[in-house]
Symmetry: C2
Subunit: 391 residues, 2 copies
């Protein structure tokens, strides 16, 4: 029997599409509100208190190849969106899934990717509640593209933001950098050099919860003390320094709160970012810029696997520029850093967590790298002319 493949009719919104959904998509994803055949899922938001906030994000995935050591496009789609929500201190709840399929794609390839979506949604304890499927002609896509969007609830009093880093903070990275991009590149035909490393692709919401709990995640709003002590002593000072940060430039959208609270008594984890495209280098530059501060990073303290280091040396790459899919960069109040670091190391996804630098006053967005040779170089924002389609 010939292998079943996607045809244009599977995108037509009729019985053929229904067949595809019932034969492959629903069984692989496991149903839930997807089976309701509604135009939109109707959902309550558990944990959302009156006046509370949600986090909302989206990502498309065009990774090549679709399957690679340690992951695949489906795992990436779930983790990427879960992680973006987690970087706001949100508890991820719901995902949507948009599929763009190329005519000729094997049913079993699609199924494998969707089974992975289901598995990792389960691991991250989120539900795929709505989806969409489009089909384009052979040659008008490259196998399969996925888009996910996600919603999470931000517990009251949590104000984690890329703009939150302030002088005195300690910079922590949750583990070895570069694994994801090294794993994906090593499976490209163009590379002879194979590296025995798996992608770090993983949902970070559990790790972030552990960090925020250790740091007194709900801050002064709940009247709780931060385990790390007086984590907020620098607030007054920081508030003045933050004037250098990028202006908010909000449009007339009246529905958002006017601005992030000024961290009075908020959580000791001030800022989070997951260093995906552009690697740790881009995340450092982005966070320092958005927060209006200077970062001083000790290059030798950034954890990098031996295999990845060797891979980079052979190919002339910088591990700081390689994408990660299961790592985070955090700016944490100095006083709380030991307890946050301990909580991270106690978590499977943070066992190689390390302090890599600190936050200083100065020219907004400057990232100074102390090299192993003892010199100091300014980190530049990568241009993006690295390798395409690693996520």
């Amino acid at each position: 029997m010939p292998e079943k493949v996607i045809t244009m009719a599977h995108g037509g919104g009729g019985s053929r599409m229904l067949e595809l959904l019932e034969e492959v998509v629903f069984p692989a994803l496991g149903g839930g509100t997807l089976l309701d055949a509604e135009d939109a899922a109707a959902l309550s938001l558990p944990g959302l208190e009156a006046g509370g906030r949600i986090a909302y994000t989206t990502d498309s995935f065009v990774v090549r190849p679709l399957f690679f050591p340690g992951g695949d496009i489906g795992k990436l789609a779930v983790c990427g969106t879960v992680n973006d929500l987690s970087m706001r201190g949100a508890r991820p709840l719901f995902l949507t899934l948009g599929l763009i399929l190329e005519e000729g794609l094997a049913f079993k390839t699609l199924e494998k990717a969707l089974v992975s979506v289901r598995r990792w949604a389960g691991e991250a304890v989120v539900s795929v509640v709505a989806g969409d499927t489009k089909v384009v002609e052979k040659g008008a896509a490259d196998g399969m593209y996925m888009n996910t969007s996600g919603i999470g609830v931000i517990p009251p009093g949590r104000h984690v933001s890329i703009r939150g880093a302030r002088p005195g903070d300690v910079l922590i990275v949750s583990g070895c950098v570069g694994d994801h991009e090294a794993a994906v590149l090593s499976r490209r035909e163009a590379f002879d050099f194979r590296v025995e490393v798996e992608s770090d692709c993983a949902p970070l919401n559990g790790l972030v919860e552990a960090m925020l709990e250790a740091a007194g995640g709900k801050g002064a709003d709940t009247g709780r003390e931060t385990p790390g002590g007086r984590a907020y002593s620098r607030d007054g000072e920081a508030a003045g320094l933050r004037s250098g940060r990028r202006e908010n430039g909000r449009s007339s959208n009246k529905t958002e709160p006017p601005a992030e609270p000024s961290h009075d008594g908020a959580c000791a984890v001030h800022a989070l970012r997951d260093p995906t495209r552009g690697g740790l280098a881009a995340s450092l530059k982005e966070m320092a810029t958005a927060s209006g501060v200077v970062f001083e990073v000790v290059e030798a303290d950034v954890p990098v696997r031996e295999e990845v280091r060797a891979f980079c040396e052979v190919l002339g790459l910088d591990p700081l520029l390689l994408a990660n899919e299961g790592k985070l960069l955090a700016a944490v109040a100095e006083e709380a850093a030991p307890v946050v670091l301990a909580a991270m190391r106690a978590h499977p996804l943070g066992k190689n967590a390390a302090v890599i630098g600190r936050v200083l006053e100065g020219r907004a967005g400057e990232v100074s790298l102390l090299t192993p040779l003892g010199s100091n170089r300014l980190l530049r924002m990568p241009s993006g002319e690295h390798f395409p389609r690693i996520c």
Copy 2:
């Protein structure tokens, strides 16, 4: 000066991507939370009451050509998602936008599509709060694909669902069908026949609000009477009949309410669907199936523009199978139908609204079409082998 085009580096997550965002995307979309450079937008949900529900949906858009009479991919992306939210009786609030761009795409083409996103988001009074941009090689996409997801708040007491149609209901369509697909197809190279019709692409949230208000949108929860009188007299009967509907099949997701309320005293607009891919035919079949009822439709009562009818006759197409992007199908309690129809006709997007049939007891999912010749034929679910990429 050569025309600026998308290069692979624009997808790399570095300074080149930032240039693209700052030069084209942010100015065109107008900023808001997009400018915050956060991993996810943090949002409050105005109108969400304690225990209230949201509607959440997603859609990808691969329409060809990108620009057509009456619309373009950007307008389509906004309206498609706004409409899906509206079909649950939700008030749309926020959208996300995922872009997959092909290497070589002109900046100005992207800009034109994004300006359209902004314009129609403004018309629909929704905000684009998060976005993502990926670039794939020349030949790995067809110019540009867009994905939107959307969130809306469902006011308490509103339980509009495709499963809500019940015997005795009247079927109403909001205007002439087939305009969108006719407009798009007439711009394809393969078609010699031009039809002077514009796509009906439009955000339907205003029309739906008008309908629900006329029908006593909040139902018994607010203690209000339905203007149309005793719209709910058939509830007891309907509850029994609805046992034939598709089983809900929810997974172990505990976060959703266990089931839709049984419509005791709910709004007289029982079910809504926007007939996009698969046309009115697919929506009739889907709604009759999901609601476990029979539909009887008078073909001659379905409004079709003369130009579209002529286009269909020349090409041997059925207007009921053509996609719409600014129309809805509603199942409305008989007693409330006159007032709902009047409210629709008073709205610019519903001025050609018409009663096209009624809901009967019987074999779930059967749609009987009374033809102009007086015969009765059973409508079949279209297979989807119509024309690809019309949205």
